[in-house]
């Protein structure tokens, strides 16, 4: 049960959503875009979130895209993880999504919500960090496609106020390449990650591309780890120097344990990808 009243609106278009948001913000309200609502609802139950207005965007047609267009796979931010899993357009992505939350929650969580939400794992972004991905944004800067790497920095998606994440895209060819994902939790099958690593072979390189979630405060492409692995094994690389920040230290796992798990996971990932990984 959510204690506070809030207004719910469901615009049909991107422009409608953005205008509504700007309008409400101008009037001093505190609007939120609503995806699957799992974060908003659970936050509102405990009083962490007190939205006065929510704007449900997940039904806007642009956010529901799931198609190949001009050689790129486009995935709408409003698709639920379950919907993406059912269509399975990109096995590596499915592999990652299938380990986020549990079946019932995955029918709610949206791709966009997972990337934008404040729960820091954002595991769905991992496969996108391994390749030339782009995101479609809608907001004060207009309706635009930008490279993911430009806007996904320091572990989160940098959106301007009121900006909507509309869709993501990757070269379709990439979706047919292999890749592996490895999620390690404190102990349970369904839990937040201690460490999740997604990896994909890179043409002409001995070491795969690596993207990591759970280890630090947000997901990142581990370029420096990739370089270091050219010279030393996962057990030997000077990890602390290679990470954007010290591993998290919380009830899921201590910093030192996360480091241990990360090294093991790297070993597993390299082994799974095989000698040419």
């Amino acid at each position: 049960m959510i204690a506070v009243d809030f207004a719910y609106r469901r615009p049909d278009t991107l422009a409608g959503a953005y205008e509504l948001f700007s309008d409400l913000a101008r009037r001093g309200e505190n609007p939120f875009y609503l995806g699957g609502g799992t974060e908003i609802v659970t936050g509102a139950r405990t009083g962490l979130f007190t939205p006065s207005s929510v704007i449900d965007v997940k039904a806007i047609s642009d956010l529901r895209a799931l198609a190949v267009h001009d050689g790129r796979l486009i995935l709408g931010a409003g698709l639920s993880l379950r919907e993406i899993l059912a269509k399975d357009p990109w096995p590596l992505l499915s592999h990652i999504l299938s380990r986020i939350a549990d079946h019932s929650v995955r029918t709610q969580i949206t791709l966009g919500g997972n990337l934008v939400g404040s729960i820091p794992y954002r595991e769905a972004v991992l496969p996108f960090l391994l390749t030339e991905s782009a995101v479609r944004l809608y907001g004060s800067g207009g309706d635009r496609w930008v490279p993911l790497a430009h806007v996904f920095t320091d572990g989160s998606l940098r959106l301007a106020v009121g900006e909507l994440l509309v869709a993501l895209s990757v070269p379709e060819a990439v979706t047919r390449l292999g890749g592996v994902a490895c999620k390690k939790t404190r102990f349970d099958w369904v839990d937040y990650p201690l460490v999740t690593v997604a990896a994909r072979r890179q043409p002409g390189r001995r070491i795969p591309a690596l993207a990591v979630s759970g280890l630090t405060s947000g997901p990142f492409r581990a370029l420096r780890v990739e370089d270091a692995l050219l010279h030393a094994g996962p057990a030997e690389i000077p990890l602390r120097e290679l990470l954007p920040e010290a591993p998290l230290d919380d009830r899921h796992g201590s910093s030192a344990y996360r480091e241990f798990v990360f090294r093991n996971t790297l070993e597993d990932v390299l082994e799974q990808l095989g000698p040419n990984g």
Binding site: I2, V4, T46, D188, S254, Y257, V261
Partner: protein, 775 residues
Amino acid sequence: MAVGQSVLRKEAPNKLTGRARYNADLSIPGILHAAVATSPHAHARIRHIDKAAARESPGVAAVVTAADAQGLKCGEVLEDRPPLAEEETRYWGEPVALVVADGEAEALAGVSRLSVTYEPLPAVLTVHEALRPHAPLVHPDLSGYRQAQPPVAPRAGTNIADVAHIRKGHAEEALRDSAVVVTAHYHLPPVDHAAMETRSARVEILDDGRVIVHATTQAPFEVQKLLARYMKTQQGLIIVNAPLIGGAFGGKTTVQLEILAYLASRAVGGRPVEICNRREQDLAMSPVGPGLEADMTLGADRYGRLTGMKLTVYLDAGAYTDSSPRIARAICSECTGPYRLEHIETDVYTVYTHHVYATAWRGFGHMPLTFVVERTMDKLAAQLGVDPLEMRRAAAIKPQDTTPTRVRLTKSRLGDLDLCLRRAADLLHWDPTPRDEGKGTVRAQGLAALWKTSSSPPNAISGAIITLNQEGSLNLSTGTVEFGPGTKTTAAQILAERLQMPIEQIHVHSHINTKVDPEHWKTVASLSTFMVGRAVMEAAEDVIAQLKQVAAIVLKCAPGDLEVAHQKVYLRDDPEIFVPFRDIAHGYSYPNGDAIGGQIIGRGSYVVRHITTLDARTGEGHPGPGFTVGAQGVEVLYNRRTHHYRVLTAVSVLDAGRVVNPQVARGVVMGGINMGLSYGSREAVLFTRDGALENPDLRTYKVMRPGEQALQYRVDFVETPQLDSPYGARPLGEHGCLAMPAALANALSRAAGVACDTLPLTPEVLWQLAGMREA
């Protein structure tokens, strides 16, 4: 006929289809809802509560604070708990005020408008901190509290709410003269009951003075008595209804929400008010199972015979005692584990901390106790270089031995531990040596033994009423609530067996109403089969006598010539001369219309016998009618590199006395195994450095999910009848979980070559222990 058969549980079909009704499923038109403002501090002074904005919030009918409770203090043993925090809050999540409103949303909105000014105070968050000299006191007025159910021994000016002792023989000398002595320290965290159904209560105070309560309670008669006492009214005016319960595990023994709902109803002129815990509130505000710290020293002579022991336990009671002093005495009573020991020195301290308070949790302290004893037994076996199974068999307590509280044991009272151990070892294909399975994995086994008696009060009672329907079917009313283990069905089986009639013709009351159902002390301590069974047997005798009396007239014979079976009363020497129940159930009518007899109504009543409270100094006394012993084990596959593991096999052999319902017994034990392994491997109530609950929802409070359980269960029973129990049956409701954490820790200790003396055993804990070993 019925005993020993896998009878379908009476409530099963409706549960299966979702038609079963639980407390919060019923909605009453016009009912008000109470929401609780809880403390955001582990310890704080309440400076001021500003009710105005909440009071004015739409739909709000009343705001209730401690001032409305007129100094009331609650508590099963020691009355130390105000229903709403008075001047201080003593745990994060403690109820501080209630907002009563037209709907739940309005009530919650009211809570958000309530402004409470707190002055945070230093908190004690571990038993160590609590026991330090000059530690902040959780209860400065400890000596002023009324002792509602002695014994309890609070120490004023400290955080020690109670101390209980066992002194038997000369432990000091026995240990001094021992060839081998092991000492270890154990730490076990508090644990949540995490029942599927959260706790709720509904109270209405009628104009004629009756108080109607509907609650998720294991103790409806306790609710009745306590409310009557607290509200200074007649017990007969308090009518408590307890519908089906969606899991309890001891968490529904504390009388908490019932009192809050009563205060809320009183504040709105007696209108019906409901209070239903949200999951977050159920975890934070309502009691948990106790954590503990323990030090155990155990000695053996050079032949491996146990010589003496010392045990000191610090129970983390949290902010209020609730049933902790009784749990402390239960730990004392069985402090040796199921082993023969003549020299014992045990002290169990109940320590206040600024944690959410503790109450009964499946096994009433026996799961942590079993962990402590069984880990120490394995250490001793390792020191002696003997097989831990053989050592347990040699040490097993036997008839004619005496318990720590000096109860002389008989075969009937105790059962057969040796047989359980041997059977469990067989089922596990016992091998104490870990086996390398390649790829850095190790397969290892662990065993642990258990025993438990009920630790019930000396005057616990139980009753049964049987009424006959005209057609000759029976209604059976008993005072136990139904939360899964099929107590109603068991009672019906016992009745069906005694009357030699089909169980389908016996109808049970699945909902308790204290006004019409006979009392059963509390549905706890796995005692239902025994106590209710005794009452049912007596009621059955009563019914049989009445049936025979009428039938003797009808059949023109002496009652002594008659037998009862198959819903008939017949001549022993010529069964073809009979009268069916349906002809006499509501009196017998002669062809001309005359009638004799009336409705047949049987009654049975039972009070436990020979139970005594424990002596304050030595612990001497008689804690329960009989024991259940058992042995459990696991086999794990452990990965040396990652420290991950999987429980491959879980084994349990309990001495059930007589298995009344094999399918249900297996189910109850398997559930227990899973609960024990869940606690052993992942569960813990965690607090932040400030004493806030760190995992207040089921996303973060981890219980085992389907798929994570042991790959295989092997559940078996031994049957050594308890002669004073119906058909010899022993309690087994709680026991399935008792030795599982210990067995798991013993297996993992062996697999990883470390000492697993804490829970939960997550891969990180094993990694840490392995790191310490290498350092």
